[in-house]
């Protein structure tokens, strides 16, 4: 603590000096040229790659704030870091504009600036992430791995406003599309497969104000993951089918801002998570629709959760953090190994979880089966895993070997002008019209099922 407190105290006067010099320089430039323009205004609004700049990184060095970097079809061998506020990085064709990590580079695109849009392109074969949006720059180097310190959200405030849409994230070593320590963003109409961890991941934020909708994740160890992302996270109308685990809501001691709580998961298809053409889930997870570990007060409603041979909705504790207050309402919940099960142990018994309107679903233990919303279950331990189906997960497939996705739909509309500035907040979706999707929902984008 002493070291970090001393750092800024020493650095601040120096930074102020530089700022003063910059202002003086800008004023003298204006005086010399007699125009009101400064460096920023002289930057182009649209920079084409490779037409105007040879690389994406070079284009980002040229483009104006809130400008557009427009990528022509081709394969780009770059790890791109985006520090230009408000910029849009857009491919002219989602399926043929490819940022390729070749199995050796860590990340496709890392966004650390506010208001950035990434759209209509493919990111593949990176060892860590396809697209990462984060206020914690060292996250781009992986999560550290040794885990002796967690990213400090006070030191690294969440990056504000982002949009990732019509992005295909294919065969990345950890996560396909990852928002960590970020707020007020949208991940939509995107696709992720071949992730050795999760296809799409939202982590470590409070009052996140993040909407995840109309995405497809398949052939990942986990389709969608949330660890310690709370309050306004809306996971709506996605297809999380054909992975090993469809999706998870996790409280994790390895990151800040636990416990995870108050997400809305609605209108998703979460089915047949039995993929063999996917990397292994490292803890052995397989055949699970939704796994909630230490998650609290989440609303799981109007989803179709079926064909997951272990458990459709699985409740568990994370160490001493219980799964509490999760409401499982009006889901098409059927034909799973067990449709819903609580396996919380005595270290952190579950409570106040409930199930309504799920027909003849099989639920264990009986305490959970009888627990109606909103009162929910009394504090109790769940069943032993010996009372759940015994499955053998197929061997994992190397992430670079996972079959490629089908061609994915392109962004429509004019491509060569910057989009409107991203809004300060994301509007919560209208859930009154949400209903459980058909079993073939978004099947035209999927290679499984």
């Amino acid at each position: 603590m002493a070291v970090s407190a001393a750092g800024p105290a020493r650095a601040r006067p120096r930074r102020r000096t530089i700022l003063v010099l910059l202002i003086a320089f800008a004023i003298s430039l204006c005086a010399a040229c007699g125009s009101s323009g400064h460096e920023q205004a002289s930057k182009p609004t649209v920079v084409r790659v490779p037409g105007d700049a040879a690389t994406i990184t070079a284009a980002l060095g040229k483009v104006a704030t809130n400008g557009l970097v427009l990528l022509s079809p081709g394969t780009y061998h770059e790890s791109v870091t985006v520090t230009v506020p408000g910029v849009t990085i857009r491919g002219t064709n989602r399926n043929t504009v490819i940022i390729d990590g070749q199995g050796i580079r860590p990340d496709g695109i890392v966004v650390t600036a506010a208001g950035v849009t990434v759209q209509n392109l493919t990111v593949k074969d990176n060892t860590f992430y396809g697209v990462l949006v984060t206020g914690e720059p060292s996250a781009a180097e992986g999560q550290g791995g040794n885990g002796y310190s967690t990213a400090d959200p006070d030191k690294f405030p969440p990056v504000q406003r982002f949009r990732v849409d019509h992005v295909t994230a294919e065969n990345n070593g950890l996560y396909g599309i990852y928002a960590f320590d970020a707020q007020h963003g949208v991940i939509e109409d995107s696709y992720a497969s071949g992730s050795a961890d999760s296809g799409i991941y939202v982590g470590q934020c409070r009052q996140c104000d993040i909407l995840v909708q109309r995405n497809v994740a398949e052939r990942n160890a986990v389709g969608f993951e949330n660890a310690n992302a709370s309050d306004s996270v809306y996971v709506v109308a996605n297809r999380w089918s054909g992975n090993r685990v469809g999706m998870t809501l996790l409280s994790s001691y390895q990151e800040a801002l636990r416990p995870q709580h108050h997400n809305t998961v609605a209108g998703n298809l979460i089915s047949d998570n039995t993929s063999a053409q996917s990397p292994a889930q490292a803890s052995g997870g397989y055949g699970i629709g939704i796994g909630i570990s230490g998650g609290q007060d989440n609303s799981i409603r109007d989803n179709r959760i079926s064909g997951n041979p272990y458990v459709g909705v699985l409740l568990d504790n994370t160490e001493d953090i219980p799964a509490t207050g999760n409401q499982i309402i009006d889901n098409a919940l059927a034909a799973n190994g067990v449709d819903a099960a609580d396996i919380s142990d005595s270290q952190a018994p579950s409570s106040k979880n409930c199930i309504n309107g799920s027909g003849h679903a099989t639920v264990r233990p009986a305490a959970l089966a009888k627990a109606r919303c909103p009162e929910g279950s009394a504090r109790s331990t769940g069943v032993a895993d010996t009372q759940l189906p015994t499955l053998t997960a197929p061997p994992g497939m190397a992430f670079l070997d996972v079959p490629p996705p089908r061609a994915q739909p392109n962004l429509t509309g004019p491509l060569d002008t910057p989009g409107p500035a991203l809004p300060a907040t994301v509007r919560a979706p209208d859930l009154t019209t949400v209903s459980a999707p058909a079993p073939d929902y978004l099947a035209s984008s999927a290679g499984t099922g």
Binding site: N146, A280, G396, A398
Partner: protein
């Protein structure tokens, strides 16, 4: 001379220890008897025997006792003074070769702490864990902990006997002689032949963050003792690679996630097919503090061998809260492949009192 004295005692365990002690003769902890280099300072902000000497002495004796009157701690001042005098001016009858790096560390059991300051750290007993049913009741809990370490095992019983006479109503509960192999700092081979105590807090800042209690017990710490009988034969029936998967490190200490001997583990590292390089049930993964929000424990364990197959690890750790150990042990009971080879036979926690000086007596804040 040291080797001769130990050799006269015989016994497999002591024989091994003596050989190892002789091998580390260049280490400060095994310096030439009778010189100031083998005198470990008693006075300080913390008691000796936790972080000093930096490399633990090769022999130990752990003694746990009950007190007839847990409210009476008036003996602590004289106990502290006597320990200091033993090291400063070793009496020939107890320490004929000088201080031999003797340290004596004093801790109080939960019943004693609760009798004086119910809200203080150390007032809560260690819970029973999943595999604890086999522990005899006499080998749990206890009111007073005396641990003595030295380069010469022969001095330890008479030293502790001498000190026990100062304590009114002292009733022995359980004790254990122990030994450790040569090493640098806390790192040494454990009874399974693996380098142990690798990832521990080092330096003043890490120790302050993870080990030392704050005011009013600044310089104190919470100790947990677990005697674990190890099925060493069954463990060695595994291939070397199999043993390394149970531990999560190779025999040279390097993590299965890569790196050099004593490197930190990378818990996230995976094979291309998605499996952890450090297996899901490996000891180093199960025990890692990041999963439980725990402080990093200062581990300073020893081996023991009581004959008749009762041999294993005398696990000793220090941290600033009991929760860190409790949460970690629960996780081990659920996940750790190493637990298949371990049977707990003693279990206890003690508040290690802050350090003391000639002017600030041992236990001054409590009684």
């Amino acid at each position: 001379m040291l080797t001769g004295a130990v050799g006269a005692l015989g016994g497999a365990a002591l024989g091994v220890g003596a050989t190892l002690a002789a091998e580390q003769s260049d280490d400060s902890a095994a310096a030439t008897p009778g010189t100031s280099a083998d005198r470990v300072p008693v006075y300080g902000a913390t008691q000796a025997g936790i972080t000093r000497p930096a490399t633990p002495q090769p022999f130990g004796l752990i003694a746990v006792a009950d007190l007839d009157n847990p409210r009476d701690l008036t003996f602590l001042e004289e106990l502290g003074e006597t320990i200091a005098a033993l090291v400063a001016d070793p009496p020939r009858g107890l320490l004929p070769d000088g201080p031999v790096s003797l340290t004596v560390t004093v801790g109080l059991g939960p019943r004693v702490v609760a009798a004086h300051r119910p809200a203080w750290p150390g007032s809560q007993p260690l819970p029973r864990f999943a595999r604890d049913k086999t522990i005899s009741t006499t080998a749990t809990d206890g009111d007073l902990l005396l641990t003595a370490y030295a380069t010469d095992p022969t001095v330890l019983p008479p030293v502790l006997d001498h000190l026990a006479q100062l304590i009114p109503g002292y009733r022995p509960r359980w004790s254990q002689r122990c030994f450790r192999g040569p090493g640098q700092g806390t790192v040494a081979r454990n009874p399974l032949n693996f380098l142990d105590n690798i990832q521990v807090p080092r330096g003043a800042e890490e120790l302050a963050d993870n080990v030392w209690l704050g005011k009013p017990l600044a310089g104190g710490t919470i100790c947990v003792l677990r005697r674990l009988r190890l099925d060493i034969d069954a463990f060695h029936a595994l291939s070397v690679a199999g043993r390394e998967r149970v531990i999560g490190r190779r025999l040279d200490g390097s993590p299965l996630s890569g790196g050099r001997p004593l490197s930190a583990v990378n818990l996230d590292a995976k094979t291309p097919t998605g499996e952890y390089l450090i297996p899901n049930d490996a000891h180093v993964r199960a025990a890692h503090p990041s999963f439980t929000g725990s402080h990093l424990m200062l581990r300073r364990g020893y081996g023991y061998d009581n004959g008749a197959g009762d041999a294993g690890l005398m696990f000793i750790c220090f941290q600033r809260d009991l929760r860190s150990f409790v949460m970690t042990q629960r996780r081990l009971d659920q996940l750790d492949a190493l637990m298949h080879y371990a049977t707990p036979t003693a279990s206890a926690t003690f508040l290690i009192l802050p350090g003391y000086t000639a002017r600030l007596a041992l236990g001054g804040g409590l009684s």
